[in-house]
C-alpha cells in the first residue's frame, strides 16, 4: 500500500465539507480564545488538546459502520438511565445540585451522556417500529424522552434538560408526530406555565428569567453579565474594534469571557461583519447536516442526522441569543468556540455520527 492509499483510507470516512466547516469554526475559536484569555497561550493550548482528543473520537465514530452505531443505542441509553437514577439516589451534592456520580475511579455527569443517548435511543425505537407507527409508538418515544428529562430537571439542571428536550423533540417531529398532537401539547404547556413557574422552578431559575426583562435589577450578579455583554456586542459596531482591541474584554468588564460569553468577545472585536461571517460558517455546517439528513439511507439515520443538525443549530442560537440579551442566561457554551472539553467532545461525537451516516450509506443501501 502506498502512502497515498493509506492516507486515502484514513480519511475515507471523513465528510470533506463538514470537516471544512468544523475546522473553520475551531480555528476561529482558538483565535478568539487567545484574545479572551488576554493574549495568553495557556487556555488556547489546553483547548487544542481538547480538540485533538475530540477529533480523534470523531474519526473513530465516523469509521464505525451504521449497524454498530444502532447497536449502541440501547446500552448507552440504559447506562445513562442507571447512572441518572444513581445520581438521584447517591449523587454527590456539589454546587448545591446533585449532578455528579462518583464511581470510585472517576466522577461522571450522566446528563452529558444523555445529550447523545436520548436521541439515539428514540431514533432506534422508531426504526424498530417503522412499519407500523401508531400514536402509541409516539407516546412511548415521548416517555423515553421524558424519563431522563425528569431526572435531570430535578437535579436541578434546567439548561441541560431543555436542550435534551429539544433534541428529543426534533426526533419526534422528524418522525412525523402529527401537527394536531403537537398543537395540543403546546397549548397544554402554555396553560400549565403559571403552575410550573410557581411550583416547579427554583428561586434562582425564576430570578434568571425575571432578569431578562430588567437586567439592572441584579447589577452585581447575573444582570451584570447581560448588561456588560450587550454593551460589548453593541459597541463592536459594523467593523469591530479589531482583534485584541476589545475594551470590554481587555478591561475586565466581561465575565466568563472564555466560556459562555466568548461570543461577546468575538462580536466586540469583529463587529457586525464578523458576526455575519460567523453565522455563515454555522449556516454552512447546518446546511451540510441537512444535506446528509436528506440523503440518509435508513429511517434511523435520517432521524439521528436531523436531530444532531437541529440540536447543533439550537445550541448556537441559544448561546448567541443569551449573550445579546434575548434569552435568559442558561449555561450553554457556544458550540465549537467556547473553552471546555466536555461540550467539544459531545459535539464532535455527533458530527462523527453524521460523517458515518454520510460515508457508509452506499454500503447499506437496499
Amino acid at each position: 500500500m502506498t502512502r497515498r492509499q493509506l492516507l486515502q483510507r484514513l480519511i475515507a470516512h471523513l465528510d470533506r465539507p463538514l470537516l471544512l466547516g468544523i475546522g473553520l469554526l475551531l480555528v476561529t475559536g482558538l483565535l478568539v480564545l487567545y484574545s479572551a484569555d488576554n493574549a495568553s497561550l495557556d487556555r488556547p493550548l489546553r483547548q487544542l488538546l481538547n480538540m485533538s482528543v475530540a477529533l480523534a473520537c470523531m474519526w473513530l465514530i465516523a469509521n464505525l459502520p451504521l449497524h454498530y452505531l444502532m447497536r449502541t443505542a440501547v446500552p448507552i441509553y440504559l447506562l445513562g438511565m442507571v447512572l441518572l437514577v444513581g445520581v438521584a439516589l447517591f449523587g454527590e451534592i456539589s454546587h448545591g445540585a446533585r449532578r455528579w456520580l462518583n464511581l470510585g475511579v472517576a466522577t461522571v455527569q450522566p446528563s452529558e451522556l444523555m445529550k447523545i443517548g436520548v436521541p439515539l435511543m428514540m431514533a432506534w425505537y422508531f426504526e424498530k417500529h417503522e412499519a407500523t407507527l401508531t400514536l402509541k409508538n409516539y407516546f412511548i418515544a415521548a416517555m423515553l424522552l421524558l424519563m431522563p428529562i425528569a431526572l435531570i430537571a430535578r437535579q436541578p439542571d434546567l439548561g441541560t434538560s431543555i436542550l435534551i428536550l429539544a433534541s428529543g423533540f426534533y426526533v419526534l417531529f422528524l418522525a412525523g408526530l402529527s401537527w394536531r398532537v403537537m398543537g395540543t401539547v403546546f397549548v397544554a404547556a402554555l396553560a400549565s406555565a403559571p403552575f410550573i413557574w410557581k411550583y416547579m422552578l427554583h428561586e434562582y431559575q425564576r430570578h434568571r428569567i425575571m432578569m431578562l426583562f430588567d437586567p439592572s435589577q441584579d447589577a452585581l450578579g447575573n444582570g451584570y453579565h447581560t448588561i456588560q455583554a450587550t454593551i460589548a456586542v453593541g459597541s463592536g459596531g459594523i467593523l469591530g474594534k479589531g482583534y485584541l482591541n476589545g475594551t470590554q474584554t481587555h478591561l475586565d468588564f466581561l465575565p466568563e469571557r472564555t466560556t459562555d460569553f466568548i461570543f461577546a468577545v468575538f462580536s466586540e472585536e469583529f463587529g457586525l461583519l464578523g458576526c455575519l461571517i460567523l453565522l455563515g460558517m454555522y449556516s454552512f455546517v447546518i446546511w451540510r447536516g441537512f444535506r446528509i439528513t436528506a440523503n440518509a439511507s435508513t429511517y434511523f439515520t435520517r432521524l439521528m442526522a436531523g436531530s444532531i443538525t437541529l440540536t447543533f443549530a439550537t445550541y448556537a442560537f441559544v448561546n448567541m441569543g443569551m449573550v445579546c440579551g434575548i434569552l435568559p442566561v442558561v449555561g450553554v457554551p457556544l458550540p465549537l468556540i467556547s473553552y471546555g472539553g466536555t461540550s467539544m467532545l459531545t459535539l464532535l461525537l455527533g458530527f462523527g455520527m453524521l460523517m458515518s451516516i454520510e460515508t457508509h450509506k452506499k454500503l447499506v443501501r437496499t
Partner: protein, 633 residues
C-alpha cells in the same frame, strides 16, 4: 401486506420526512433571522449608544464589602472583632518578574519567609484575583517608607482593610472557629446557592466553628457603588451608592471567664469540657484541649506551621468536644439505673452480692469489677455511689440490649445533639441491627454485659454526654444545646433569639429520679468515688466518675497505671450538675489519659463549678489577674 403497499408506504414516508425537513430548515432560517435582526439592532442601529457606554465605560460597578459581624460572649466580652490596618498587595497582571519585585520590596519592608510561602500559596490558588497580598499589618513607619518609594513599584499598592482578630486565641478556637480566604470550592458553593453576587469583593468566608455555622448572619449585605472610571481604570466620580449592611452580631451563651478558667484548669491534660445550663440548653463553656491559635489561618497559614499543627501527636485541630468519640465508661451508670427502674428490672432496694467478678450463666468468661474482691452487698444507691461494675453487668443482662437501646436513645445517645456547630459526631449506641449491619454478626449476650458499664461498642462525644447530663439534671426535660443566645443587628437591636423551647420530656418517674440524683450526690461525699470534688463546698454536687479504656486488658491481666505508656492510659470522665437540688449548671469533663475520673477530671469540674456558682477564681489564675491589676496601678 403485499409488496406494492409496502413500497408505496415507503415512498409516502420519504415524502413526509422531506416535508418535515423543509419545515426544519424554515425553523433554522427563522432563528437565523432573529439573530441577524438583533445584531443589526445592537451593532448598527444602536451602535452609537453602546459605543458611548463602552467609551465612557466606563461605569464600573464596585462592590462595597460589609463589615463582618462581631461575636460577643454573654456579658458582652468580644471574642471576634475587626480592626483596620494596612496591607501591601501586588497586582499580578502588572508585574512580569514577581520574584524580583518581592526581593526589591523586601529592602523597604520586612518580608519574612512565612510571608513568601503564603504568597506562593495564594498565587497558586488565585484565578481572578487581580491583586494578592504579600504583607499584612504594616506598621505606620513601614507605610511611610513604602509610600515615599511607591513610584518604583507600579504593580504594588497599599490598601487599608479590616482584619479579623480573635483576642482569646486558642482558648476559643474550637468554639468561634476562624474565617479564611474564599477558595475555589467555597466560590462554587456560593455560586450554586446564588450568593455569588453578595460575595463580590468579599475575600473571606467562615471556615470552622461559629464563623462557619452562622456565616449567613455574620457576612452582611454587600453595597454597590457605581463609579465612572477613566481608560486606565481609575475612578473619576461616583454615580450612585448603595450602602452595605454590616453583618449581625452574635451574642453567645458562653461565659468567657468560665471558658478561660475551664481551659486553664486542664493544665497539661488533653481533653474536653462542655458546660450547659440545664434549664434552657445554653452552653456556658465549650473547651477542647489543646487548642490552636486561629489568627494565622485567616490569611492562609503557611505550610510549615500547618504541618506542625496537623502532625502534632496532640491533634490540636481536632475538636474533641464536638467530634471526639470515647467509651462513656461508668458515666453511663446513672442512665442505666434509670433504665432498670423504667422497665422494672430491678427494684431500688434489691441487693446483690458482689464477689468482684461476674459471669453469664453457662459461660466461663469472667467480667471483673474494678475493685478486686468486690463491694459486698450492693443495692442501686450503693452501686452508683461506689461505681460497682458487677451490679450493672447483671442489670444490663437482665434488661437486654433492645431495652437499653430504647431507653438510652431517649437521652440522645447515638444521635447528634444538633448543637449549632457543623461536623458533630453522633457517637455510637450499639443495637442488634447495628451489629448485623456493621459486622454481619448476631448480638451475643456477652456484648450486653460490657455495654452495662459503658464499654464494648459504646461511644459518646463530650457534647452528647453533657446534653444527657443536663437532661437528667433538669428532671428529664431536654433542651437542645446551643452556643448562640441571640442574634443582633450591628446597631444592637435584637433580631432573633435562638430557640430555648424544650425538645421533649422523658417523663421520668420522680421516685427513681430522686434515688439516682441522691446517689450521684453521694458519689462526691465520703464513701463515693469523687470525694475530693466537693470537699468544703457550700453547695451539693451530683456527679459520676468514669474511666474509658484505651487498651483492652486480657483475661486475667491487671491494669497497672504506672506500667502503661502515658498515651495508652485510660481516659478520665467526670459528669456533674450543681447545686444538686436546683441545678444551674451541668457539665462533662474528659481528661485524655487522665487515669481515674475522681482524681483528674473531678478537680477540673470543681474549679468550674466554684467560679460559676460562687464567683471563686482558682489560685494560678488569681495570681495572673492580680499581676495584671498591679500593672494598671
Amino acid at each position: 401486506m403485499n409488496k406494492y403497499a409496502e413500497f408505496k408506504n415507503h415512498q409516502r414516508e420519504i415524502f413526509h420526512f422531506q416535508l418535515r425537513l423543509v419545515v426544519s430548515i424554515g425553523f433554522v432560517l427563522l432563528l437565523l433571522a432573529i439573530l441577524l435582526l438583533r445584531f443589526f439592532y445592537l451593532q448598527a442601529f444602536r451602535h452609537n449608544y453602546y459605543q458611548t457606554l463602552a467609551e465612557s465605560n466606563r461605569i464600573a460597578i464596585v462592590p462595597i464589602v460589609p463589615n463582618r459581624g462581631l461575636i460577643l460572649d454573654r456579658n458582652g466580652v468580644v471574642l471576634a472583632r475587626n480592626y483596620s490596618g494596612y496591607t501591601l498587595e501586588i497586582n499580578q497582571n502588572k508585574t512580569t518578574d514577581m520574584e524580583a519585585t518581592i526581593n526589591e520590596l523586601s529592602t523597604l519592608v520586612e518580608i519574612t519567609s512565612k510571608d513568601r510561602r503564603r504568597f506562593k500559596k495564594l498565587l497558586a490558588e488565585s484565578h481572578d484575583f487581580d491583586t494578592l497580598m504579600i504583607r499584612n499589618r504594616l506598621t505606620d513607619e513601614e507605610v511611610a517608607r513604602f509610600a515615599a518609594q511607591q513610584y518604583r513599584f507600579p504593580a504594588v499598592e497599599i490598601k487599608a482593610r479590616l482584619f479579623r482578630d480573635y483576642p482569646f486565641g486558642e482558648k476559643t478556637a474550637h468554639l468561634v472557629g476562624y474565617i479564611g480566604r474564599i477558595n475555589e470550592a467555597d466560590a462554587a458553593q456560593l455560586e450554586a446557592n446564588d450568593l455569588a453576587a453578595n460575595y463580590r469583593g468579599s475575600d473571606y468566608i467562615g471556615k470552622t466553628g461559629l464563623e462557619q455555622s452562622y456565616e449567613s448572619d455574620l457576612h452582611g449585605t454587600t453595597g454597590i457603588e457605581q463609579v465612572e472610571v477613566d481608560a486606565g481604570g481609575r475612578p473619576v466620580r461616583m454615580l450612585s451608592h448603595t450602602a452595605p449592611v454590616s453583618g449581625n452580631t452574635l451574642v453567645l451563651s458562653i461565659d468567657s471567664k468560665l471558658q478561660e478558667i475551664a481551659e486553664q484548669s486542664f493544665g497539661n491534660y488533653r481533653g474536653a469540657l462542655v458546660a450547659i445550663d440545664p434549664n434552657n440548653g445554653e452552653v456556658l463553656a465549650f473547651v477542647s484541649k489543646p487548642g490552636y491559635d486561629p489568627n494565622p489561618f485567616i490569611d492562609g497559614i503557611d505550610s510549615q506551621s500547618w504541618d506542625e499543627l496537623n502532625n502534632s501527636p496532640d491533634v490540636p485541630l481536632n475538636n474533641r468536644a464536638l467530634r471526639g468519640q470515647y467509651p462513656p465508661g461508668s458515666t453511663i451508670k446513672p442512665f442505666m439505673a434509670l433504665a432498670g427502674l423504667k422497665f422494672r428490672t430491678r427494684k431500688p432496694e434489691q441487693t446483690i452480692s458482689d464477689p468482684g467478678v461476674f459471669s453469664l450463666p453457662g459461660s466461663s468468661r469472667q467480667y471483673r469489677d474494678w475493685k478486686a474482691g468486690g463491694h459486698g452487698s450492693v443495692n442501686m444507691f450503693k452501686a452508683i455511689q461506689m461505681s460497682c461494675d458487677t451490679y450493672f453487668y447483671g442489670l444490663a443482662t437482665e434488661l437486654g440490649i433492645d431495652n437499653i437501646f430504647d431507653y438510652l436513645s431517649r437521652f440522645g445517645f447515638g444521635n447528634k445533639t444538633g448543637i449549632d456547630l457543623e461536623g458533630e459526631s453522633s457517637g455510637l449506641l450499639p443495637s442488634q441491627d447495628w451489629k448485623m449491619k456493621r459486622f454481619q454478626q448476631i448480638w451475643y449476650p456477652g456484648d450486653t454485659v460490657s455495654v452495662g458499664i459503658g464499654q464494648g461498642y459504646s461511644l459518646v462525644t463530650p457534647t452528647q454526654l453533657a446534653f444527657a447530663t443536663a437532661t437528667l439534671a433538669n428532671d428529664g426535660m431536654a433542651y437542645k444545646p446551643h452556643l448562640v443566645k441571640e442574634v443582633r443587628s450591628s446597631f444592637g437591636e435584637q433580631k432573633r433569639l435562638i430557640a430555648s423551647e424544650p425538645l421533649n420530656d422523658l417523663h421520668i418517674e420522680k421516685a427513681g429520679l430522686d434515688l439516682v440524683k441522691k446517689a450521684m450526690v453521694a458519689v462526691t461525699q465520703p464513701g463515693g468515688t469523687a470525694v475530693y470534688a466537693s470537699l468544703g463546698t457550700p453547695y451539693h454536687i451530683a456527679g459520676k466518675t468514669g474511666t474509658a479504656q484505651v487498651v483492652a486488658m486480657k483475661q486475667g491481666e491487671k491494669y497497672d497505671e504506672k506500667k502503661v505508656d502515658e498515651r495508652l492510659r485510660d481516659h478520665a470522665w467526670f459528669i456533674a450538675f450543681a447545686p444538686a437540688e436546683e441545678p444551674r449548671i451541668a457539665l462533662v469533663v474528659l481528661a485524655e489519659n487522665g487515669g481515674h475520673g475522681g482524681g483528674t477530671a473531678a478537680p477540673i469540674a470543681r474549679k468550674v463549678l466554684d467560679y460559676y456558682l460562687l464567683g471563686k477564681i482558682p489560685k494560678p489564675l488569681q495570681e495572673v489577674t492580680e499581676k495584671e491589676g498591679s500593672e494598671h496601678d
